[in-house]
Symmetry: C2
Subunit: 386 residues, 2 copies
């Protein structure tokens, strides 16, 4: 396999983008990434999107987006793995360049989630769970993650305060991210007393409904050098699934797909978690970040919550997590999230994260963990700057 | 890139499978392919599905299907390009093995289309067209292809009889396919006098709504040899898009994405259309088969209809098309169609097509052309038996 590097990143300011359609949002992010990379063409583009069908009545995004981006007759594909669709797009783009089939590929993601009315967004998101055995009986994602939170609190004495600390940290980081949907800061008290959604999860434990897109350009080392770009190489790519339904799992307090995907990525990169300087992880709910950091091996099982409280995952901590603000503050347009994680990893490795959230000790190796459903699928990528 | 071969194929009998859910249908086809290949594990699986969300309220098929197939923690992905989703799954699986990232990958496709009520299926399918500029104004796929048919008849004097001849040929072939949804034979008169759907297209010009799945196993030449399998190599893979909306195209009587995808595949294979012995093409409507054979260069522009009437695309013709029965007779579970085309190509190259539809002159090189929407995306693959 050829070495593959990321040479361009782009996204738009995420939020409730009422005045823009899914194609406008996508094209904005794609043009930003193409501009940042400085390439004059693409060989292929891959789009992560969870449910264009249910959110906006539009599938076939490969054809639509190549068309609206003015990329006449380009090979363009859409991939989906629920909220890990962006991570999957990145993997597929990586393979296409690594194989030698294409030289310049755009990995991208988009979701327009605010155009549905009533409980349309909740239903669309629930299609990431087991339709016949979970959704049919009324399960929604806040409910499923609430079960995981309850189990974790019971088994590991994880506290309300620890959950809140995740939100406080991520909103603090997000307050420095010009692309974040909710760049406000918050406090432990505010989070702990916010409106209950599904006990024990409150509104400030939950990532929001978001419209947004993100794109990155992948190419070979040779082309990156010709373009004078820093060599930020993809050194590990891991992908795994778990049972789609929570009730089929032996343990609700850990995420097996995350552990397996990370092991694959570490093996490929010939690294361990100790070699990683920072990570973007999938904090769709505060409890998710805690369980993910444990499943990745950053902290021992049951110690993830304590680590957040102690500031170990903060900007100045031993293992910074979600310097971008995470899904919590940056927003969570489900198909775009995995790609935006890569953007933050690239910015930190370039040393160009905005507004004071750049890590003080310049990192060399970063990781992105993106998951779908209640952890039914996970993509882990490791990037290293030369 | 490494050479990649197809060593196993499997599908179920397609139709209105009321008693089976999408997961049952998928697992049946996947197990058949795994059994045919004789492999003891998979490294990855890729699933083409157009709209699990709109047809059955289920996205995240990667997680679901790996789970129900008993493939614990397997890397499993879903890809979509409307009715070309199966072809896209095949391309992605090809790249994964060609790159050296994985050794044994299953390319598969599934759609459960009959569980929606009222005009649900028509709406779901219409999400392959331009939602804002076509669907919003009432366009459906029979209507869009009717526009193409009218233009083709006007420009090239293509006749009602020529359209009917496509259906007659494909149903004749399909009558020998034990997996076909509609294995009945028909006549020019029956087709020409069947119920009008969207003038000039009648019900027997249209492919049906179908539940079904299909799967093929891809691997390296070394593994294929160890397993004692015939070496059926993927020698060409082409992928292109066109404008999603018909009104943006300069000419409705040709399919640009098909032409460009074929050119890419020919270039990679170092072949021309004259080297190809037979093809499975995307006959979602009778007119589609005629335009596709012209766009592929099998027949000159405007001569596709005449060629069918003359029997040139029949089992004993100069260039057999859709020996499987095509989408018309075999059925069209949209996500599975592109994979089933590969199955027929492999069977013909193996010399094992059932019930007398095996081509008399044993073919060496076959092609599959799978398209999405009104030709907004197309995948072309060329396979050669050693």
């Amino acid at each position: 396999m050829r070495d593959v590097v990321v040479i361009g990143v782009g996204m738009n300011k995420w939020g409730e983008l009422w005045e823009k359609s899914i194609r406008d949002i996508y094209v904005e992010a794609a043009l930003a990434a193409i501009g940042d990379a400085g390439v004059d063409h693409l060989d292929s583009m891959i789009i992560g999107c969870m449910s264009g069908g249910l959110f906006v009545g539009q599938e076939h995004l490969g054809s639509l987006m190549a068309d609206y981006l003015g990329q006449k007759n380009l090979a363009a594909s859409r991939v989906e793995s629920a909220c890990a669709s962006g991570g999957l797009a990145f993997k597929m783009a990586y393979l296409e360049v690594a194989s030698g089939f294409s030289d310049i590929v755009m990995a991208s993601g988009v979701e327009k989630m605010t155009d549905v009315s009533g409980d349309g967004a909740t239903f669309a998101l629930a299609t990431a769970a087991d339709q016949e055995y979970e959704v049919f009986h009324g399960a929604t994602f806040p409910g499923l993650y609430a079960l995981m939170a309850t189990a974790h609190m019971h088994k590991h004495a994880t506290t309300r305060e620890m959950l809140s600390a995740v939100a406080v940290k991520n909103h603090n980081n997000g307050s420095m991210n010009p692309y974040a949907q909710y760049p406000f800061k918050t406090t432990i008290d505010e989070v702990s007393n916010s409106v209950m959604v599904a006990s024990p999860l409150r509104i400030l434990d939950c990532s929001p409904i978001t419209d947004g897109a993100a794109a990155v350009i992948l190419t070979t080392v040779d082309i990156a050098k010709k373009l004078g770009k820093p060599i930020i190489k993809i050194i590990g790519s891991g992908h795994a699934t778990d049972t789609i339904a929570l009730h089929s799992r032996a343990d609700l307090t850990t995420l097996k797909a995350t552990t397996v995907a990370a092991q694959k990525a570490f093996k490929m990169a010939n690294k361990t978690i100790k070699d990683i300087n920072f990570a973007e992880v999938h904090d769709c709910f505060t409890i998710a970040e805690i369980i993910v950091t444990e499943s990745l091996g950053i902290f021992p099982a049951g110690k993830g919550g304590e680590a957040v409280l102690k500031g170990e995952t903060g900007l100045e901590g031993s293992f910074p997590i979600n310097t971008s603000g995470g899904l919590k503050s940056k927003g969570h347009p489900v198909g775009a999230t995995g790609v935006a994680q890569i953007i933050e990893v690239v910015k930190q490795l370039r040393g160009t994260a905005e507004n004071g959230r750049q890590l003080k000790r310049q990192p060399k190796i970063g990781m992105a963990q993106n998951m779908g459903g209640s952890g039914g699928s996970t993509l882990v990528h490791i990037l290293e700057v030369a």
